[in-house]
Subunit: 544 residues, 2 copies
């Protein structure tokens, strides 16, 4: 009895499986009432902690824990496949389906193309920008070899600290524990990356940033779609794509401001600390703040009914899923939520079209962070699913340059992934018996049927985006399970959350206080704003 009870806490999925329980199809009126029950329940600390532990373990034990036998290094287990994390991981062995038995890549790409935008139920465009900014830090496919990656494998805020100690050093002010920054009209931003130039002149990295990115690749490829007039305000930040949307720019600036604010605060409390110690301690705090936002605000929104899930202290401590992180190729692919991208943000004169919200630092500088975040938090994103990816991510902008979605599909094919149903089984879900269990959309069902013939042949990457789901979720059952599994088992293993580390020695007294008090992006933006009353930052957005 005791051991069953223990099992329920430690391995809820297994226990629930034994009891024969399945998630019910809830009637709509009940679903609409649930948030009203869940919110007050979640406000009781003990309930919140217990439910968080249950939910985290439910997903963490959905499939067998790392180490996995295979990676993209080889189709059989080798020392490389067990130890070299520059090869991306893989959850399942390669498929044995012959390529000629699959639909063409063009046919699959066409399944994603948006005709008319479908809006999400309650997800804001701010969520989309955060998702992209967050995942760009650890989902990093190698440019040279699709089987490899350049991921730090940890959530380390490389967005503002750069990849590796050398680049961190370029971004540091080497004074007071701060990051380099500049004031533009009294607002703090990262420094500019390029030397000043005559209009239309050649772009040259400032000497202090030599090697921060690969210069030729950065100026020719990364900035290929950036209008020349906007290039002078490209910021020096940690990642190559750090200037690619207004979301990246806003979030980099917000986290930079918070870093420098905390560094100043620590300096006041520890006048004897040198620059390095101030910097390192601030970074420790910053990473935990990000982890808290990710679980308590971002994953909370992904989960059903926005239950206020929390970072349970030391939850990974005794768990079999607490094993070294190793990003899987499936995680890299399933996170390509291109359908979140809206056709436009807002209306009227403030409306932002793709050309406005991409590669546009001048807009951030002129409109200001507060106004843009508020606008993005009040606009619904697109709904995750097939037939809803905007044209500029599906169609080629240059005839020889595959689009973002085409590249995803090529990568999925190169990775030779097993079927949608195989992944359902591997993640503890029942195999579907037919396309009718996948979606009620008759036209889509018939299209999939004609492309694949058999539900067992449906490709995983297509299946996870084809899954229908209720409004209280924001993606299908398999994608929810896989994203939660990979996220929980790789975020909560962060060394800063471990028992020997998560304490006042690591963060300082002030740092512990900041960590305890911070629960939302809104707080962080407001306390770094010259007009805190003007900020509304939310991943949740009511239909209106």
């Amino acid at each position: 009895m005791l051991s069953q009870a223990l099992l329920l806490i430690r391995q809820p999925r297994k226990a629930i499986g034994w009891l024969g329980w399945k998630p019910p199809d809830l009637p709509q009126p009940l679903v609409r009432q649930l948030p009203r029950v869940i919110a007050p329940l979640g406000a009781i600390p003990q309930v919140r902690t217990a439910a968080s532990r249950l939910a985290i373990n439910y997903y963490a034990y959905a499939t067998s824990p790392r180490p996995r036998a295979l990676s993209m290094a080889s189709d059989y287990t080798s020392w490389l496949s067990l130890t070299d994390r520059t090869f991306s991981g893989r959850h399942l062995p390669p498929a044995t389906t012959r390529p000629e038995d699959l639909p063409s890549e063009a046919e699959v790409t066409a399944l994603f193309r948006r005709d008319r935008e479908t809006k999400s139920a309650d997800t804001s465009v701010m969520f989309m920008f955060f998702a992209q900014w967050f995942t760009d830090s650890f989902l990093r496919t190698s440019r040279e070899n699709f089987r490899k990656n350049t991921s730090p494998q940890e959530i380390d805020l490389c967005q503002i600290y750069g990849l590796g100690a050398n680049k961190t050093s370029m971004l540091r002010a080497h004074e007071g524990g701060r990051l380099k920054s500049q004031l533009i009209d009294g607002e703090e931003y990262p420094p500019f990356l390029f030397e000043p130039r005559a209009p239309g002149g050649k772009l040259v990295f400032k000497p202090e940033f030599t090697g921060l990115h690969e210069e030729k690749f950065f100026t020719e490829k990364i900035l290929a779609d950036c209008p020349d007039a906007r290039k002078d305000s490209v910021f020096a930040v940690g990642l190559e794509h750090g200037n690619s949307t207004i979301g990246h720019t806003i979030l980099d600036a917000v986290f930079l401001r918070e870093h420098n604010r905390i560094a100043g605060l620590l300096k006041g409390e520890h006048p004897d600390w040198d620059d390095v110690r101030l910097f390192e301690t601030t970074r420790n705090i910053m990473i935990v703040l990000l982890l808290k936002l990710v679980v308590e605000e971002y994953i909370k929104h992904i989960g059903p009914f926005d239950f206020p899930i929390e970072v349970v202290p030391f939850i990974a401590d005794g768990e079999r899923w607490n094993r070294p992180n190793w990003g899987a190729i499936e995680f890299n692919l399933l996170y390509r939520w291109h359908s979140l991208v809206p056709d436009a943000i807002g209306e009227g004169s403030d409306q932002l079209k793709p050309r406005d919200f991409r590669n546009n630092n001048p807009l951030v500088i002129s409109r200001g962070i507060e106004a843009l975040i508020t606008q993005c938090s009040r606009e619904r994103s697109g709904k995750i699913g097939l037939l809803n990816t905007p044209y500029f991510l599906v169609d080629r902008s240059h005839p020889d340059d595959p689009s973002i979605e085409e590249r995803s599909i090529t990568l999925m094919r190169n990775a030779r992934l097993r079927s949608y149903n195989d992944y359902r089984e591997a993640f503890g879900l029942e195999r579907l018996a037919g396309f009718d269990q996948l979606t009620t959309n008759k036209a889509l069902r018939e299209r999939l049927q004609s492309l694949y013939g058999d539900i067992d042949k449906l490709e995983w990457y297509v299946g996870i985006f084809a899954e229908e789901y209720p409004d209280y979720l924001m993606m299908g059952e398999l994608m929810t399970t896989m994203v939660a599994h990979d996220a929980f088992t790789q975020a909560l293993t962060n060394p800063l959350l471990a028992r020997n580390v998560f304490n006042e020695q690591t963060f300082s007294k002030a740092g512990m206080r900041i960590i305890t008090e911070t629960h939302s992006l809104q707080q962080i933006i407001a306390r770094n704003s010259t007009s805190p009353g003007d900020v509304h930052a939310s991943f949740h957005c009511e239909q209106g």
Copy 2:
């Protein structure tokens, strides 16, 4: 009740502590009888497994699990100290003792110097050679920076496979999954490293081995004490020090032969496998064979009464100590068992003096592996402790070149380690109240008393070698605890032993059979020998 019982299995040290149990001082007649009881008990599989699990967890939970807050990267917790394993780990924060309050390094070095050799109770010289060969693979202090290391952090048999994929490739035959080798008088050895030369001519790496080691450093420093006539038979093996003793050479050759034997066997069973798959699968098997020998033969001998401890399948699976390996500076230092080295091996015309058993591949080739292993298995090593390190490891061979023991003491001081008593406390042992609890050797006690004044000031590195211990152990209580903790929690976390990996897919059917059937070095040597009847390989050596 159930949870207490579970605790006894999962955390025996804690449970035993609660019961107030302490290891008793056993009367000598009883001690002498114990092996006669333990051997038949250990022969019962269930008893063996249960006792192994108990013993492994007893030591694994002796101190708090990784991740540790600090490494040698900084005196406070930083992202580098939590993630960059090229900085050696550390179990405890730096000492606060002022260097001027400690005895001089020369005085400490003198504590180690052997006057007359004290023999171990029952440890063979073969054990010593194995210990050195085994630990040279993962205890690798950086030459440039004492705070750093070049360890692979896993037991990966880099002794024969080299450090990293590039070097592995140089050592592979690229045919049949084999390693490069040569036959000398019908016996298989690694290839020679150097181009043939005129006597006394310049040493040049064969082109195929360019970059295997740093050429200048290798020929000038590593071979500094190697007589010129012996240099032509230096073998191309994985590690720089792979030719430094006859033990290294013998064990490299034995494991090379076993690799090529298994590769041939797999090729017969899997004619469709290419060279890479044959090589990688053989390596998987080889690493597990080494892990089995390490636990079931080597650690067994270190433990009390040679209880036949075993590699319990998946034992790390549910344990809090199953965290990424990270070699600590203390582990690196405590393993410097220089006092094991005897003044000579054997007697009469076969006697080997240090100049014979160091840097002497011609001896291995002429006498043969079987004869030398047998000789080394029949000779007792020195006893681990102070005042027992042979002159050539304590005294300088060149005036400007610190000796091996001097370098160890400098490293210990640079690492600013806390006191012996602080480490006892951290590893769950009681602090000693005085030098009389450390040793009954009156002269040594008085010397330590006069050097340190107070037992609480005794340096850890001196204390672990000063500890007196009974004949059924081979080192003191704290050193046994620390070496067992670090060994178990870093050997049994090997990915090849994990639940998703330890199976027929990883090793093949033949590989699983080999793994199951192999329990001793003796077996491995015999099955690769042209005269298997002539081999006696043992870490245990009766007084005679």
